[in-house]
Symmetry: C2
Subunit: 246 residues, 2 copies
């Protein structure tokens, strides 16, 4: 049976980290809210499940995944759930917890990226918190982004399976969901902060190489070129406001 992915239909957002995993694995799935509204599809189907009082495992927010009777929310938990079946994580318990630890650090970075344009309240427009956003983005560019990129670079450098002449991986010698998520973060950073991310990636050549390697993965490439891949926009997490790029 196909997985059902529930996420807002017009943005990449956090749903994209799950989409990339499903696409890279060639797993059958329905992007529920992007269908035409009817009994089982469209944004109304997402909202119905989100507000369903009979759900014993209610998701707090999209994205969430429905796999038969199982409903899982929280991006990192969805990936933790899917990865063994999709073969996007190694078998050993230690590799799995390490992959998840990296994913949670990526999740922290994603939250900080979001907060560069929404430091005061998610419920307010960017335009209503622009002075605060300028401050927060400056700190992000100067302190946080280099710290995160330096950490990912160190992880890639210390992975004994990585070597010259081939694209590096965060864990072991094979593609994991953390690789896919770091790819998406680099894509997003280049869109939102072209100048700051150019500088940060100059000091993180292995992160760049990972990004390029994932982008050449056959199924990932096909997905990125399809109309299933939504464009970045100023409604998502990674937003290009030139003033926030310094």
């Amino acid at each position: 049976m196909a997985y059902e992915l529930h996420y807002w239909p017009t943005i990449q957002g956090r749903g994209e980290f799950v989409r990339l995993a499903l696409e890279a694995a060639g797993a059958p799935y329905t992007d529920v809210a992007r269908g035409t509204d009817d009994s089982a599809r469209g944004e109304s189907a997402l909202l119905r499940l989100l507000k369903d009082d009979a759900q014993t495992h209610p998701p707090f927010a999209p994205p969430f995944l429905k796999d038969g009777a199982v409903v899982v929310g929280q991006t990192a938990a969805i990936l933790l759930y899917l990865a063994p079946t999709l073969k996007l994580v190694a078998r050993s318990e230690q590799a799995r917890i390490w992959t998840h630890q990296i994913q949670l650090t990526i999740a922290d970075l994603v939250t900080e990226v979001h907060d560069t344009h929404h430091p005061v309240a998610s419920s307010l427009y960017y335009e209503d918190q622009k002075p605060e956003a300028l401050q927060r983005a400056a700190d992000f560019r100067k302190a946080r982004l280099p710290k995160f990129m330096g950490w990912f670079e160190a992880v890639l450098q210390r992975n004994p399976c990585n070597g010259p002449g081939r694209a590096p991986h965060l864990v072991g010698a094979r593609l994991s969901y953390a690789d896919l998520s770091l790819f998406q973060v680099v894509e997003g950073l280049r869109y939102a902060f072209p100048e700051a991310s150019r500088k940060a990636l100059k000091n993180a050549p292995r992160v760049s190489a990972l990004h390029d390697g994932v982008g050449m993965h056959k199924r990932v490439k096909a997905y990125l070129e399809s109309d299933r891949r939504l464009p970045f926009s100023e409604e998502g997490i990674f937003r290009h406001y030139p003033e926030l790029d310094g």
Copy 2:
């Protein structure tokens, strides 16, 4: 062999979620950075491991746990790693992923609590971002806190194992690490936002009951009364700035 918990020695912070799990399970552990500085203890030992270039699984930040040769960072990943051994999670895969999903939602709430006093930059003092903090805290009290508490209440209400006359649990019929973390969040919220949390908890009686139940757990109670439990303070995540409580 005793677990080694590495966390800043003077605050509860995110380390407290791990401490509570270790204490509730009666697991042997060393709170490394709280020892006197020597070759194996004190904050210098924490910093040494954090900056050790030979670590193939370097933690991004404290807390991190050392279990023999295994090093695990990220609070939720540490709990995911520890819980089966400490018997703080049910056996079924579905219960485990659900417990983790709840934990990640707790982690999101904790980040939002932190950002009420540090909306612009963690590297700045509260006093340097007070106007922004007032705005962010107002949104937190009005929109976010009730949303989170409403969700935890719904989770408790829909857990078929909960019933009248006994303390509720988030998952199944036994204490899990998510219960311990929600207990800590309620403790922290009551300290930081006494007025806002009083209102929010009035609408979340099951969350209050869970808090009270966990607080009466024999080993948790002994821990809370010991000098191993650090007090809340204006250096941690949950800070009492009366102006942020409305």
